[in-house]
Subunit: 260 residues, 2 copies
DNA sequence: CGTGCGGTTGATGTAAATCAACCCATGTGG
DNA sequence: CCACATGGGTTGATTTACATCAACCGCACG
């Protein structure tokens, strides 16, 4: 799959009306932390791009590879992960609709991690040249993208605290809180209940635990009324219960955070 | 201490000859991953700044605070850390001489973590205005600083893998490997042996373990001939032994990594 | 010459891993 | 339409890596 992403047609057609609606989610994501004037927003929305639909589990980029395009996640979920020598896997970032998936390849030669879809997903593949032109022409957009990078790094630091210092229950609750907040940020209207389309094994890889222990911890959270489950479906129920269990604070998400 | 950093004199004197030598370490750090022409290097070296000496343990910035200057670490060590509700502490980054300590405050309103010296240290405090002017005038410098931010994020991801998926022995060995590589990168000539001026308690907070367990794990590493200790002094002995124990790969450090 | 911080050591406790079944829904091919 | 394979998920028994608790040590330093 990652092979498919590489050969982008360089002289891509400019965005059509339908395309413009597509990138709205990305603009909303950036507005969550940065102010953008309407012409900046329009410029973003009319970025030329290629729409690509992926299956769950498809690779977008592999460690050691070089990427020459910039994928934006329009729908579905994706994640970054790294592998240890013994085969252990650690998911190091979860990306939700509206997120830019690989801004760093613009500046670093090779990828230091794998990038894979979690669910079926739609990507907008933007040619690097178009993105570079946009960034050059519009400082506010450049700044918003940089803030996006900084916030992802901040989330990574919070994950370090989460995995390094919290027990399984708080760790899981913290992740679910974060997911809720982030989903709300890009949603047009706050979704009543959030569906978490992730297997217990993936949760384990995300939180540095085992699938078996995730299973038992989920049962505890369900018993506390924090979440609901039916079959393989996991939904977030009472966010305040999760909040209390995780002792959650969201300052690290830097909502509406741009300085100056 | 962090109070002291804030009131920077805006009309700071331009750098003198002595100052220029001071910032050399920062330039060397950036050259570790980015190409910079000699005029870019000179511009960096002649950044106006204020020299500040700090004691071990002094705070440079606290979570929730806002910073209005950019500190560069000239000598000594510093680290970023976060606190959990139960008092647990996680060190989320270790900074060595040559590192910029707080580029993100240029773009985010408040700090999401604490920044503290590990040892006595010397900082160059650069006024934001001067840094902004430099970045505006010299795209190559701007790019190098961005690459620096991206590499720090990459290191954070590797730490997630380290803490989430490796056992105590490999975890400790991995950290010592990383420190060695990073120290070599900014050194004028590769130091024969690296001295790690960090307490066992700090190592514990860095690796998500307890001081007691760090102590026992250090003994194991010493037994394997990987490190040497005398009194409270810890030095890295055979890097290849550490390498093997940690199954270390340094691609995540992106050495000489700038693309394009 | 105490005092305190960092380090060391042993005994004990425990959260989470591991091992090993088994269940169930879904999909698939005969 | 049923046989069966497959990928989660669930559950209990057992093990283990690391945490916790509690001393004690020894150097540095005021």
């Amino acid at each position: 799959m990652s092979r498919d992403l590489s050969p982008i047609v360089p002289d891509m057609a400019p965005a059509t009306i339908a395309d413009i609606e597509r990138l709205d989610i990305v603009v909303r994501k950036l507005l969550g932390h940065s102010r953008l004037e309407s012409d900046d927003r329009d410029a973003l929305r009319s970025l030329p791009h290629d729409l690509r639909r992926l299956e769950a589990g498809d690779y977008i980029l592999r460690e050691g590879e070089r990427s020459d395009c910039c994928p934006l996640l329009l729908s579905g979920f994706a994640y970054r992960h790294k592998l240890a020598a013994d085969g252990g896997r650690q998911i190091v970032a979860l990306k939700i609709p509206g997120d830019a998936l690989d801004l760093q390849s613009l500046f670093l030669r090779v990828a230091d991690h794998n990038l894979q879809t979690l669910t079926p997903a739609e990507l907008a593949i933007v040619p690097i040249a178009a993105l570079e032109a946009l960034v050059k022409a519009r400082p506010a957009v450049a700044r918003a993208l940089l803030v996006d990078i900084l916030i992802e790094a901040s989330i990574g630091r919070e994950w370090l605290l989460n995995i390094g210092r919290r027990n399984a229950l708080a760790r899981l609750a913290h992740f679910l809180c974060e997911l809720t907040y982030r989903m709300h940020q890009t949603a047009l209207e706050p979704p009543a209940r959030i569906d978490v389309p992730i297997t217990q094994e993936q949760l384990a890889d995300l939180l540095g635990l085992t699938p078996v222990h995730i299973n038992r911890t989920l049962k505890t959270l369900e018993g506390a009324g924090a979440i609901e489950r039916s079959g393989r479906r996991l939904t977030i129920g009472q966010i305040d219960v999760l909040h209390r269990i995780a002792d959650y604070s969201d300052i690290y998400l830097h909502r509406g955070a741009q300085s100056a």
